[in-house]
Amino acid sequence: MPPRQATTRLFALPPRFLCPSLPVTQTRTIRSILKPIPKPSRFNASQSLPVLGSSHTAAFERKEHVMPLRTGALAIKKGMTAIFDPETAKRTPCTVLQLDRCQVVSHKRRDVHGYWAVQVGAGAKEARNVTRPERGHFAAQGVPLSRELAEFRVKNEAGLPPIGSKITADLFIPGQFIDARANRRGMGFEGGMKRHNFSGQPASHGNSLAHRLMGSSGGGQGSGSRVLPGKKMPGRMGGEQMTVANLKVMQVDKENGIVVVAGAVPGPKNCVVKLQDAIKKPWPDATWPPAIETVTEPLREATEKAPAAA
């Protein structure tokens, strides 16, 4: 019984000793004042309900404003060189990247997969080295087999180029900034000084055989006598993906697929690098692609020819 009704009727009722069978409401708490919170029904999944913070939808909405508007490109790191500015005579160390047969293989859609992304392929593989399921994926989209596949998240459907579009080096405009993602060089098992920039220990003052050690790994009895989870220690270093943000595009050569960016890019030579518009800079003023070239035309011709021949 709601307690509020009982309190309002209190004086309308006879004294308690005359009717002991009535229920007693002794305490007035916040619960008795507040309106009762509606209990969510298991079947109450209406549109008006707020999105729960820990849901996929909320995560998508949180990230939406940093999602690039355009797709990225898969490139191969070719090496480093330098570029002189003819006016200021400033020398800029640069990384040379090459786009080889970069194409749009497939899309990831919000309604089907839960997010917007462009699946991009690069390079080439021989059909005999590719499994049937994988060949089927490419055949369904009507694009040639790619050696590498990667996804580039985009903000919305407008960022999805048609399947089979060629991604050329002129996707990037000289002067714009990009983020480069690649697997770092593997360093193997490394000590704390190299792996986590620890300071090491003194060279002298009685130090013996402990010059590059990490030192203490935590307190003793008062601190729990244990090593806290996540303690930085020696271990395997490198070989994992890292991002270098805000690299300036210096030169672009569409014909040879060359993109020259200022600064260093993670990974060894000939590694695959993912390039996309920098998320910490304003989006480039570009409406790409200016004229879509597709790779699907040759397949159409080939499939039309095949039944005629058979």
Partner: protein
């Protein structure tokens, strides 16, 4: 098998003839098997299946997609032309385009090219004219030409106010207007890097006198070096002002 029985049951002879035939056939078969066994010397080497075709490769057979009998054929789109084949060495291409832009005449490349017999070598006294600032001259004690041609550089050593000064100059830098050979070393240096010249007993000291003489000679020639003179005169004036 008597004659009497034959006359009594006329079809019995047929049965007997068939039995005879069967026995003979069996005998023949066993005889042929025996003959075959005699021919095969190593039965374990006999092939149980037909031999593979001549073009058969084991490595190909292990690949899982080689034989897809009875399966639907999956079309494979033909590959588009590769930029990697078109431009196998993009770093060299970028560097070459840089060098052609910075050194349009090819004079700087030629001055330090290995193919050029009159190239500048270590030990020569070189003069570097700069876009901003005074020209610098000195003995070239190192020529750095690594894998990256665009970063080719020279190290010049001179004495200014009796203090040893060394300067690195990138030969393709737009800040370097020109590099001139003032004086060649009489004998070819037998080191690639003349770092021993930093030692007091090998130090040649200031080369300003040699450079001044060279400039004076050039001033009489067709290529009048008015700019260099002005620069020097300015310096003198400034010095005087400083002293006063």
């Amino acid at each position: 098998m008597s004659l009497s029985s034959q006359s009594a049951r006329p079809l019995a002879c047929l049965k007997q003839a068939l039995r005879q035939c069967r026995a003979e056939r069996q005998q023949q078969q066993t005889r042929s098997y025996a003959a075959a066994a005699a021919e095969v010397q190593y039965p374990s080497l006999q092939t149980r299946y037909p031999l593979p075709a001549k073009s058969f490769r084991t490595s190909q057979a292990t690949k899982q997609n080689r034989f897809e009998t009875g399966m639907r054929k999956i079309p494979v789109a033909p590959q588009v032309p590769s930029t990697r084949k078109l431009c196998p060495d993009p770093v060299a291409a970028v560097t070459a385009s840089q060098i052609s832009a910075l050194d349009a005449t090819g004079a700087r490349t030629r001055l330090f090219s290995q193919e050029n017999p009159d190239r500048a070598r270590v030990g020569d006294i070189l003069l570097v004219r700069q876009k901003s600032g005074e020209p610098f001259s000195g003995v070239c004690i190192n020529i750095r030409q690594g894998n990256s041609k665009i970063d080719s550089a020279i190290l010049l050593r001179n004495n200014l106010t009796r203090v040893g000064v060394e300067m690195w100059y990138k030969i393709y830098s737009p800040n370097v207007e020109g590099i001139e050979v003032v004086q060649r070393k009489a004998k070819r240096a037998r080191r690639a890097r003349l770092y021993y010249m930093r030692q007091p007993r090998h130090d040649v000291g200031s080369v300003d006198n040699i450079v001044r003489q060279y400039l004076r000679q050039r001033a009489g020639g067709p290529m009048n070096n008015a700019k260099g003179r002005d620069a020097r005169s300015n310096k003198k004036k400034n010095n005087k002002r400083g002293r006063n």
